[in-house]
Amino acid sequence: MNLHLKLFIPVFLLLVVVSLTTHYYWFSDYLAIETETQKEQEHSFVDFLGTALTADLLNNDFAKTNTTLDSVLNKREHWHAITLYDSDRNKIYPLIPAEPPKDIKLDTLEHAIIFDGKPIAHLIASIDITALSANRIDHINYLEKLLLFTLLLAAILSTMLQDQLIRRPLRRLAAFANDIAHGKYDSAMEYRSRDIIGNLVIAFNTMRNQIKQREAELIESQQRNEAVIENAVDGIISIGARGEIISFNPAAENIFGYKHSEVAGENVKKLMPQPYKREHDGYLYNYLTTGKKKIIGIGREVKGLRKDGTTFPLELAVSEINLADKRMFIGITRDITERKKIEKMKTEFVSTVSHELRTPLTSIRGALGLVLGKSSDSLSPKIRRMLETANRNSERLTFLINDILDLEKLEAGKLDFVLEYLNLKELVKRAIDDNEGYAQSHKVDLNMVYEADTNTTVYVDKQRLLQVFANLISNAIKYSPENEKVEISVKTKNGFVRISVIDNGPGIPDEFRTRIFGRFAQADSSDTREKGGTGLGLTITKAIIDQLGGIIDYHSVQGHGAEFYIELPMVEESIENFSVDESLPKVLICEDDPDVAYVLANLLEHEGLSGDIAATAENAYELLKNNHYSLLLLDLVLPDANGLELVRELRKNEDTRALPIIIVSGRANEGRKEFNGDAVTVANWLQKPIDRDRLSQAIADAISDSKRPRILHVEDSLDVIQVSRALLEEDSDFDYATSLAESKHKLANNQYDLIIIDVSLPDGSGLDLLELIDPECPVVLFSGQETDADIKEQVAATLTKSRTTNNELIQTVKRLLIKSKQK
C-alpha cells in the first residue's frame, strides 16, 4: 500500500463513518419524526379545511364546497381522495368516487365538522403521507449524496495536497536516506520550510555528516587496530563459536608455522596436541551450555602444536567478545619455550639454594640459640660474645636468604596468598604486639591511633600482611631515636583503609624517593651494618601490597621523620568473633582483676593456647555454655559469686562435668581445705602470686595425659635433628629417621603422636610419607622450601627452615599435641 493510499484511507474512513451514521442512525430517526410531523400538519390542514367548509355546508353551497375540495385535491399532490359526508352519512363529495390508487398505502384522516355543537359533516382525507415526506427525503438523499461527493472531493484534494506537501518531500527524504544507507555521503537534500520535515531533513543532514565523520574515524581506528594486530609480538587468533579460526595474525603464523590461509576456517584444535585436542570440544560445549570457564578470561599455560608436528609450551589467554550478537573468542598466544627453560633453571636454582642453604643455617642457628639460651651461665664472657656475634650474623644471613627467596617468588607470582576476611583492628594489634619486644630493645614506644570502625574488615593474607606491618614498624623503630614514639594510625576513607606508620627519625632524602622501593636500597649504605636489615624489606612490602590490590607510599621531610602508609580496599564482610588464632585450644580465664587476667592470657599463649577472659561467674557460665574450652582457670573471689559455687554448678552439668579446672587464687589453700572430701575434683590448686613454671606444669598436667608423646622427626640433616631433639626431648620421646626408607620402616613398626617431615630427602620426597601416616596423627612439614597451598591443606602445620625460631617449633608441637589429644 503506497503512502498515497495511506494518507487517503483515514479521510475515506471518516467519510464512510459519517455517511453510515447519518444514513442509518440519524436518517431513519428523522424519517419517523418527519412522517409524524407531516401527519400532524395534514391533520391540522384537514381541521382547517373543515372549518373553511362550514359556512358553505350550512348554506348547502355544494358548488363552493366542491370547488374548494377540487382545488384542495388539485393543489395537494399526495391527497388521493377527499370524501365528504353529511350528518346522515350521505356522501356529498365526490359525486363519482375516484379509483383508489394501487400499491400505495394511504393514511386516512377523518374529521367531523362541528357547528353549534352538532356535527354537520364528516371529512375523510386519504393521503399518501410517505409520498409527502418523500419529497423532503429526496432532498435529504440528495444532500447526503452532495455531502458525500463534497467530502470525497475534499478527501481527494487533501490527499493531493498532502502528496504535494508531505509525500514528495518524504520521498525525496527517503531517497536521501537511502543514499546515506548506501554510503553516498555526498548526497544532499534541500528543504526550506522549518516544519517537521524540515527538522527531519536537518537531522538527516547532521546524521549524514556524523556518519561520514564516524566512518572516517572508524576506518582510521580499524587500520590502526589492524596495524597493532599485524605487528603484535603475541599471536592473536580469533575463533568463532564453533571453534573455527577467523583470523590469524603474522605473529601467530610465526609461532605455529601455518600461514593464515592454511588455517582460516579450520578448527582451532588443529593447533593443539593431545589431550587438549580431545578435550577442546568438551570445553567449548561446556562453556557455551553451562558458562563454566576453563580458559576463558583466565590466562593459562597449555601446549601448542606446530605445523611440523612439534609441541611447545604456550601461554594462552582467551577472552570472549560479542560482536554484533555473534559470539567470538580471541586467543592471545605466546610461545614460552624460552621462558620455561629459564624458569626451570631458576626454580632448580632456588630449590637448591633453599635446601642447601637453609638446612645448615637452621642447625647453626638452632645450636647457637640452644647454647646461648641454656648454657649461657657456664660460658666465659669472651666465648659468649663470640657466640653472640656468630648467632647475630647467622640470623642476618637467614633473613637475607629468606628475603631473597621471598622476592623471587613474589616477582614470579608464585607466592601463594591465602586470602581471608580479617578484622583490621585485631591485625594491627597483633602486628604491634609482635614488634613490642623489638621496640623495647630500641627504647621506642609503639602507639596505636585507631580511628576506623572497629568492625572494619579487609580481605588479605594474614601472614603476608603481618610481614608488611613488621617491615614498616621495624623500620620505623630502627630509625627512631631512643625514647621516641612510633605511631601506628588507622583511618578509613572512600572505601579504603589507610594504615600509617609514623616515626620521628631522620626522614628520607628526596633524592632517594625513586629508589626507596628498589632492591638493596638504604639511604646510607653504611646503614645496613648499623641498622641491620637486608635492604629488601620495602621491595618485598611493595610487592605484597601490590598483590593485595593496595598501594604503598610515604611522606617525609628530611630531619622531621617519615610516614609510611599503605592503603587497602575495605570489604563489606564483617567478622564478628575475630580471633587471631582460632585453631589454638581455648582456655577460659575467670578472673576479675584485668592485670592478672592479662598475665594469665599471655602465659597461655606461650603454651600454645588461647585464652578468653570472663570477669564474673555469670559471664564465665555463659561462655562455657556456648563454647568448647579445654581448661578453666578460676579465681575463687569473684564479684558475683564464690568460685567454688561455680565449680559445683559446673559439675552438675553434663557438658562441663569433665572440664579440667585449675584454681588460681589468693585463697586457694582455704578453698582446698573447704573442698576436701567433696566428690568434685579440681585438677590443681595454685596460690597467688603466680609461679610461671608451676602454672605451666599444672596446665600441661591438666590437659595432657601422663603418657609422654612420641615424636618422629624425618630429616636428612643430623645437625637439624640435634637441635630439634634438644628442643623437644624434654617433654616427649624423640625419634628420628634420615631417609625415606628408614621413615617407612619406623612408621610401619611404631606408633607416633606427632611426625615432623622434611620434604627433601636423599631417596625421595618426604611428602610420599603422608599417605602412610594415620590421619589422626598430626604432621608438621619442616622444610627448606616454601610449601604449596594444596599440600598445606593435608598437614597440621608447615614451618620453613630459617624462618622458624626454636620457640616457634616448640609451641607448634605443643599445640598440636594438645589438640590431637582432645580429639
Partner: protein, 262 residues
C-alpha cells in the same frame, strides 16, 4: 368643429356586478374606448360593489347609461324612467327546472310542497321567473332553498338535498358531465329578452342616438363583435321598454326580495 366648440362630453355607465369589478373593467373599457373614438363622447365606467348597491344607484338615477338585467330594467323604468336602448337580439333568457335523472316526477305540479333549490331569490331566470310561474301559472307552493350559486343548485338536486332546482341553460351546460348526467330538465320557463343597455331620461335624444349608432356600428365589424361578445352580446340590436312588456306582466316584484331591507 364641434370638438373645439364644446368641452369634451362625459357620461357615466353602470354595469350590473354579475362579475367581479376587474373583469367588468376588462370587458367594458375597450368598448367604451371605441365609442369615444367613434363619437368623441367619453363614457366613464362606474362599478358597484354589490347588486343591492347597484340597485340603489340606479334607483337614485346615478348612471347616465346602465347595463342591467331585464327585471332591473323594468324596475328602473318604473322608478326613474330608464329606457332600454340596446340589447342582444340573437337570444332570449329563460329559466329551467332540473330534477334527478332517476326522479319519478314528470310534471311541474308534482313539485307542490317540495323543496326546490335556487341560487338566490332575485336570480331572474333561475329563481324569479320560476317562482312567479309556480305561484301564478301552476298555483303550487314550494319550499325555497337558496344555495348561492347555480352549481350548488344542481348539486343539491343531484345529492337529493332538494327535489328540484332552478337554473338556466347556460350554467347547466357548464356543469361537468358527471353532474349533468345525473340530472334532467323537467321544465323551461317562458322566455324574456336578455340584459339591455338603458339610458337615463335626462339625456337628449341626439346623444342617445349617437351612442346607439356607435354600438350598432361596433356590431358591424369583427373586432367590435368580439368586444361585445364578452359582455355577452352576440348580436347587438335596438331595444325599447316594449321588449320587456311580457316580463312586466309577470308581476315579478311580488317575488323580488329586497336585500337591502333584509
Amino acid at each position: 368643429m364641434t370638438k373645439t366648440v364644446f368641452a369634451e362630453e362625459t357620461y357615466t355607465l353602470g354595469v350590473v356586478p354579475q362579475f367581479d369589478a376587474r373583469r367588468i373593467v376588462n370587458i367594458w373599457q375597450p368598448i367604451l374606448n371605441e365609442i369615444h373614438q367613434k363619437t368623441g363622447i367619453r363614457l366613464v365606467l362606474k362599478t358597484s360593489p354589490s347588486i343591492p348597491e347597484f340597485e340603489n344607484q340606479f334607483n337614485a338615477g346615478e348612471f347616465d347609461f346602465a347595463y342591467m338585467n331585464p327585471y332591473h330594467a323594468i324596475i328602473a323604468n318604473k322608478n326613474i324612467g330608464y329606457s332600454p336602448i340596446l340589447r342582444d337580439i340573437g337570444r332570449s333568457l329563460y329559466g329551467i327546472i332540473v330534477i334527478r335523472k332517476d326522479s319519478s316526477i314528470q310534471t311541474v305540479n308534482e313539485l307542490d310542497g317540495k323543496t326546490i333549490a335556487f341560487p338566490a331569490p332575485n336570480a331572474l331566470g333561475a329563481a324569479l321567473i320560476p317562482r312567479s310561474e309556480f305561484a301564478k301559472k301552476y298555483n303550487i307552493k314550494i319550499h325555497e332553498l337558496y344555495v348561492k350559486s347555480h352549481g350548488s343548485v344542481y348539486l343539491n338536486v343531484a345529492l337529493g338535498k332538494a327535489v328540484a332546482g332552478g337554473g338556466i341553460q347556460k350554467t347547466l351546460s357548464q356543469q361537468p358531465e358527471s353532474l349533468r348526467s345525473q340530472l334532467r330538465i323537467l321544465y323551461k320557463t317562458s322566455k324574456v329578452p336578455p340584459h339591455p343597455i338603458a339610458a337615463h331620461p335626462r339625456l337628449n335624444k341626439i346623444l342617445i342616438a349617437r351612442i346607439k349608432s356607435a354600438f350598432l356600428e361596433l356590431g358591424k365589424n369583427e373586432k367590435g363583435r368580439q368586444l361585445l361578445n364578452n359582455i355577452p352580446i352576440n348580436n347587438i340590436g335596438e331595444s325599447s321598454i316594449d321588449d320587456y312588456q311580457a316580463l312586466r306582466n309577470m308581476g315579478l316584484n311580488e317575488f323580488y326580495v329586497d336585500e337591502q331591507v333584509k
